[in-house]
């Protein structure tokens, strides 16, 4: 019964996509809303039913695989079109359909004035379908299929305003980087097929420890290549550069795809493949280190951004860094916990930012904002909740999830201690840049020359309610896991995370992470207040300090330049060079030469054709004579 429900959950968003895109002409908006929102919402209800059914079963009995048909069978490899329903995928389904539905609801109002209303919801439906396929697939092949299709959905939605050259460029960049990630995943799948002959989760995880071995080159290679995919999708160094540019898409897209769901797919994949990562200690360490570096780097870049969505984008990169770090250190459930709370508070922050942007007629620069507290009451309060949550102030959700990651890091050996300290420091940075945003948008004076609109207008109910719901979730979701008290989430995920190492943070470690984290965050908030609220002129007076470093931050540590110089431009030059030399000269020269030789030969042989019958007769006689001589000489 839950198998059917699971297929329905997967099919409903696809159905909504088809029902919208196949409608001839522009459908009525009411239809678009009903289909675009209704079907994913039903999907959420069904996911909840599946969750309830699984909850009623024993922990060992919560995994089901449902096969639709055998997709391909070739030699020893057999791939089924199959779904796996287990605690991990159900958690993802709930978040994807739940947060997804809220954001679709929000979009019905946000996108109301846009030209391609129908296309937007069709593409959102396609995204939800792909994301669900990604999290529900029962083998690595369909994981990769979902992986690629969310990349396509993300491409379409980033480039939603396709007449804007910057949006087109951003969508292309996102797509190409994600294809690099896909290739990493595909190569990992090649190795799995070569070593194990299968891609089914169950079979791979059962066979891998025995067949591939602990810490062998093959195991490390698989883990690293899978992480290439994760790094591209989850915007980790050095494949992170597409995510800030992806903010060219409409704000709900940023909230859904580039904050709450798709970009965390990398975390999901690592948690899903925990068996493989536990076989690869070096790769896992590398994953954790990359996560920590990303976390620190993105947090610093967020300091100097002026675009409200780009600040949030960098903060997303940074927060995913936490999750990746946790997963790399073996604290899988902690990573998933942060994924859950992050989905709530980051979606909330983006949707709140969307309200602000909407109210100011698509103005995104925080320089043109300020003092919005009195105009946008709901946004102010909900954003406050979101900022407190991400800054890890108790009792908001981020406090529990982030401190769990840091406490677990402390428990995970020497490397973990170092990375835990990085996480702690970055927590302070997070609090600073988030409250920089918060204070400059809602407090302080109005911008010089006033807002871009006469009067910032408050949003309607379709935009308000989802934000309020998310704010409530962001406020309380942390109580799912309270250290030393209860941990239902960890217990729930246990059947899917079979290989997790036994990490037990001591009481001291938990206390350090909690008190230290909170103290740092409060200090950072105070500092932000001192800079941006207490004396608004201070910011401008301090503009000259650290100019060199700020320039580096503005250039985002020059990753884009490096890519351009190392891969893109040489490729173009090589292509042009080959076109000019090998292609024009060699490759196309061969057929030209052959054709020319044939023409010349014809021109020469033409001379033999005199038109005189007697020449031909003479030639015949000569030929016969020569043949005769040969015959006599040879036969004798």
């Amino acid at each position: 019964m839950i198998e059917v429900l699971a297929w329905l959950v997967l099919a409903l968003p696809l159905l909504s996509c088809l029902a919208l895109s196949l409608w001839p002409g522009e459908p009525p908006k009411a239809y678009t809303r009903a289909v675009g929102l209704g079907l994913p919402a039903i999907g959420f209800v069904l996911s909840a039913v599946i969750f309830a059914v699984l909850l009623g079963r024993d922990a060992g009995d919560r995994t089901e695989v449902s096969t639709l048909w055998n997709w391909v069978r070739s030699d020893t490899l057999s791939i089924d079109l199959a779904l796996q329903i287990d605690p991990l995928s159900v958690l993802m389904m709930l978040v994807v359909t739940g947060v997804g539905s809220l954001i679709v609801w929000y979009s019905t109002e946000y996108m109301d004035h846009d030209r391609d209303y129908r296309r937007f919801f069709a593409e959102l439906g396609f995204f939800l379908f792909s994301m669900l396929l990604l999290v529900m697939a029962a083998n690595f092949f369909f994981l990769i299929v979902g992986w690629g299709l969310v990349g396509l959905a993300s491409y379409l939605l980033i480039g939603f305003y396709y007449d804007k050259p910057s949006a087109v460029a951003a969508s292309k960049k996102a797509f190409v980087i994600n294809v690099i990630g896909d290739v990493g995943m595909v190569l990992a799948a090649f190795i799995l097929v070569r070593e194990l002959g299968t891609l089914d989760y169950g079979e791979v995880f059962a066979a891998a420890p025995g067949e591939m071995g602990m810490g062998t080159g093959v195991s490390e290679m698989v883990a690293i290549l899978l992480f290439v995919g994760a790094a591209a999708k989850s915007a980790q160094i050095p494949l992170h550069t597409w995510l800030p540019d992806a903010m060219e898409g409409p704000t709900p897209v940023s909230a859904l795809i580039h904050a709450a769901t798709m970009v965390t797919a990398g975390v999901y994949m690592i948690v899903r493949s925990n068996v493989l990562y536990e076989l690869a200690p070096y790769a896992s360490d590398a994953v954790a280190i990359v996560g920590a570096l990303t976390l620190l780097m993105a947090a610093t870049i967020a300091f100097v951004q002026e675009d409200i969505k780009r600040i949030l984008a960098w903060s997303t990169v940074s927060q995913i860094g936490y999750m990746i770090m946790a997963a790399g250190l073996g604290a899988y459930s902690a990573g998933m916990f942060h994924f859950l709370t992050h989905a709530f508070f980051k979606a909330l922050l983006f949707l709140g930012a969307g309200i602000v942007i909407h109210a100011l007629a698509d103005q995104q620069s925080i320089d043109r904002m300020g003092g919005l507290k009195k105009h946008l009451r709901v946004a102010y309060l909900t954003m406050a909740v979101g900022c407190l949550a991400i800054a890890a102030i108790p009792p908001f959700s981020g406090f529990f999830s982030k401190d769990e990651i840091i406490a677990y890091s402390f428990a995970a050996g020497d490397l973990g201690v170092v990375l835990g300290i990085v996480g702690l420091v970055a927590g302070g940075l997070t609090a600073f840049y988030m409250f920089r945003l918060f204070f400059r948008v809602f407090h302080g004076p109005e911008p010089e020359g006033g807002y871009d609109v006469e009067h910032p207008h408050a949003p309607g109910p379709a935009m308000t309610i989802p934000v309020v719901v998310l704010a409530a979730l962001a406020a309380v979701a942390g109580f799912l896991q309270v250290p030393e008290a209860w941990h239902p989430l960890e217990d729930w995920l246990a059947p899917a995370i079979t290989a997790a190492p036994d990490l037990h943070p001591s009481g001291a470690q938990i206390l350090i992470s909690m008190i230290g984290g909170t103290a740092l965050a409060l200090a950072a908030i105070w500092f932000a207040h001192w800079m941006y609220v207490a004396d608004p002129g201070r910011r401008l007076r301090m503009a000259g300090t650290l100019a060199g470093y700020r320039r580096l931050l503005h250039d985002q540590y020059r990753f884009d330049h490096a890519f351009e110089a190392a891969a893109v431009q040489p490729g173009r030059d090589l292509g042009d060079g080959l076109m000019a030399t090998v292609e024009r000269g060699g490759a196309q020269g061969i057929p030209t030469g052959v054709a020319r030789a044939a023409i010349l030969a014809g021109r020469g042989l033409r001379l033999a054709q005199t038109g005189l019958v007697r020449t031909y007769a003479l030639a015949m006689v000569a030929g016969v004579a020569i043949l005769g001589v040969i015959a006599i000489l040879v036969v004798r």
Binding site: S21, V72, F141, W147, V183, G571, V594, A595
Partner: protein
């Protein structure tokens, strides 16, 4: 009922019947052409449905001795390798002829007749079970394409088509020599003079014989495929032909080279193929990277698709010489996929050309405003072409590269560069024409019309079906491909558990001369004394 002969002959008769259509009888010409195409497709459908998937050899064989004394015969049939090529040809030519009938160019009778002749040539090539017949059809199909491009192409057509025909002919002359060489060498070993491919399987050629004969065939196939660096004819021809002809040429005729490798080159000369495998694999890899880079920098839309085609066929060539069932099945699937996708891509380019006749990528942009439906179709085609996971091409490339990876990990790993580049150049094609500020032409001119749906809707549908159930195609090829590659697997010293079929040597080992034995005597016909 000679189904396969009918599939080959119906288009031929259709082409000949145009002679009896009075000039100006365009309705009649259309009826003749459509009837021939529909009948061929129907017969093909019957053969596909009736195909026995458990059988590896030729089925539906029609054998008719022609010149018995020199071993010539009309011998056609289908197996798992030719089945899908025939189906692809039947389907694409049905659509192509339908489109041609809808929008008939000048000299319509000749145009339709030549299309049908081209179809007959291709069908004969794919169905031929006899090397001489194979050669005859190999050359036959050139002639109609020569005229189709030379008469109806653009201003560069003459130069392009002369290069094309002379170059491919030069290659196929080598093949003719190799065919004769094969038959005579085989007679010196078995004492039997035959051109039948199935009788030539398993003949123990010496290493040198195997290599030289393989090379003779391989160069002809490599030019047709085309394998880097034999691709020089391709860009100009694809750019010069009328778009429908270019689409059919790229979709079906380029498969003849790959098909030749699978059908003749690898199974008949396993040792030669094994010795040349690494070279061909590296050339294929070079072709993938080279085609991708040039597609990235190509100035016009047609050239971009043309170079992308070189890259895509590189994958197929690489898989064929991996001698792995999975790789071969992937290659087979990819041959079908590429046929569908590249035909669709060229048709889309043709539609865009309505608004941007210069064909230059920078001459037009923002068409999605006026042509949203074209944008949607084009997106699907572009995504299928760059093999996004979930597309039909991804199914093919995944299988193919997994197979190659088993034996040549680095080759497969480097080939994935082609997947990344594909994203770059296909998005360049898509975005520069569809997205950005509108300029250079009216989008409305490029919106899908009924005639465009006629071709593109079935192609897109086929892409979706294959993406959802590739097993439908892959499953039918298993036994034939096992037969085709197993001698090469033996030659390559693959582990015994990977080799699924052993072809019985022909003739059986007992009849073979041991080294040092005198050659078996050629049977002499007794002449009755007066």
């Amino acid at each position: 009922m000679p189904w396969v002969s009918a599939i080959v002959l119906i288009p031929l008769f259709g082409a000949l019947s145009m002679l009896f259509v009075p000039s100006g009888g365009f309705v009649q010409a259309r009826i003749h052409a459509l009837l021939a195409a529909v009948l061929t497709a129907a017969f093909t459908a019957y053969v596909v449905v009736d195909f026995d998937r458990g059988e590896g050899g030729l089925q539906h064989i029609d054998h008719l001795d022609w010149v018995e004394s020199i071993g010539l015969s009309w011998d056609v049939g289908v197996d798992g390798i030719s089945l899908w090529m025939i189906a692809l040809t039947a389907g694409l030519f049905l659509l192509g002829i339908a489109v041609a009938c809808w929008r008939l160019p000048e000299c319509g009778r000749a145009y339709l007749a030549l299309l049908l002749l081209a179809q007959a040539g291709l069908m004969g090539l794919f169905a031929a079970g006899d090397l001489v017949l194979f050669y005859v059809f190999w050359e036959t199909m050139l002639i109609p394409f020569y005229f189709l491009i030379g008469v109806w192409g653009n201003e560069d057509r003459r130069a392009a088509v002369v290069r094309f025909v002379v170059y491919t002919m030069a290659g196929s002359l080598l093949m003719l020599v190799a065919i004769l060489g094969t038959a005579f060498t085989a007679r010196s070993i078995t004492g039997q003079f035959t051109f039948l491919i199935r009788d030539l399987e398993g003949i123990p050629f010496s290493t040198a014989q195997s290599v030289w004969l393989f090379l003779g065939f391989a160069i002809a196939f490599a030019i047709k495929l085309p394998l880097f660096p034999f691709h020089g004819w391709l860009p100009r021809v694809y750019a010069a032909g009328p778009i429908l002809v270019t689409a059919l040429l790229a979709a079906v005729m380029s498969k003849a080279g790959a098909y030749g490798f699978m059908r003749v080159g690898v199974p008949l000369f396993p040792e030669g193929a094994d010795i040349m495998a690494v070279t061909i694999g590296l050339l294929a890899l070079a072709g993938i990277v080279y085609g991708s880079l040039l597609a990235w920098r190509a100035p016009t839309m047609r050239l971009l698709v043309a170079y992308s085609s070189i890259a895509h066929l590189g994958f197929i060539a690489m898989a064929i010489v991996a001698f792995d069932l999975q790789a071969s099945q992937g290659a087979m699937l990819q041959m079908v996929n590429h046929g569908i996708v590249v035909a669709a891509a060229f048709m889309v380019v043709g539609i865009i050309n309505r608004a941007a006749p210069s064909d230059r990528l920078d001459s037009i942009g923002g068409l999605a405003f006026g042509a949203p439906r074209l944008a949607a179709v084009f997106l699907i085609v572009a995504m299928a072409s760059l093999a996004i996971p979930g597309s039909n091409s991804f199914a093919g490339e995944f299988l193919l590269l997994t197979g190659v990876f088993r034996h040549h990990p680095w080759l497969a790993a480097l080939a994935t560069l082609g997947i990344i580049y594909a994203a770059v150049y296909m998005l360049r094609l898509y975005q520069s024409s569809m997205n950005g500020p509108a300029h250079g032409g009216r989008g409305k001119d490029a919106e899908m019309r009924a005639v465009d749906y006629l071709m593109l809707a079935p192609l897109v549908l086929a892409m979706l079906v294959i993406a959802l159930w590739p097993r439908g195609i892959v499953g039918a090829t298993t036994n034939s491909l096992e037969r085709s590659i197993s001698p090469a697997q033996v030659a390559a010293d693959r582990p015994a558990d990977q080799i699924r079929v052993r072809i019985a040597p022909n003739p059986p080992p007992a009849a073979l001369p041991l080294p040092g034995d005198p050659l078996p005597e050629v049977p002499v016909e007794e002449v009755p004394q007066p």
